[in-house]
Symmetry: C2
Subunit: 131 residues, 2 copies
């Protein structure tokens, strides 16, 4: 197996994800990391995002449209996606673990986890619509 070596570019990717909470795309992370490493390659960003996601240090989000997003917060939590502006926000509610048990009963196989995305219109877009 491969031993991981330290890399300052990977640190920058990780730091970016810990610092921001808007669930950036790979491209957004790339733009961010480029401020510190102007010649960083987009491939390097992708490679490290995948490395970190595969090792469980960050999480991948698939909101149903648009490119993949990434989340530095690995605690189980739900997300809300505004269908107007597309922003992805965390929902401060508990994950319903019993859903897995319910699914288990009608599934036959083994349920490990679930992922839920809520869709609607965010506060800002609602306010904008009122004007």
């Amino acid at each position: 197996m491969k031993t991981r070596k330290h890399s300052r570019q990977r640190d920058a990717v990780m730091n970016c994800l810990m610092a921001r909470h808007d669930h950036p795309t790979a491209d957004a992370v790339y733009l961010s990391v480029r401020e510190e490493f102007p010649n960083v390659s987009l491939g390097t960003v992708y490679r490290n995002l995948n490395l970190l996601a595969d090792s469980g240090e960050i999480r991948r989000l698939n909101c149903g449209h648009g490119p993949e997003r990434f989340d530095g917060d690995t605690h189980p939590h739900y997300h809300f996606i505004c269908r107007e502006c597309g922003q992805v926000t965390d929902l401060p509610m508990d994950v319903l673990e019993q859903m897995n048990a319910e699914a288990q009963e009608c599934c036959g196989g083994q349920i490990d986890n679930h992922i839920t995305y809520f869709y609607g219109v965010c506060r800002e877009c609602l306010d904008k619509a009122k004007e």
Copy 2:
């Protein structure tokens, strides 16, 4: 606005999705439709899948990896994805509408619906692993 004209290719796409319950990808639908229309174009399949999905006659599924899938069953229901074989199956359990209300409370915006994917290992893959 555009009035929709009838098309036999679109019928074939729709029929394919009503007939099978394995949530096929666009390419799988394409192969299916080609049995009736040997020169149907992949673009035509994509165009009609999007048309039908946008008008609510079918549903798009994003399982978190791999290409988009489509579902002829538009009733709200949950899906299970086997991480071994990748198959996507319907879960015969009720959708928890109250989840939307819970999310609403901590959201600020307006929650319209939610999508949940359950992940794990299906019966067949569990059995295979035992051998």
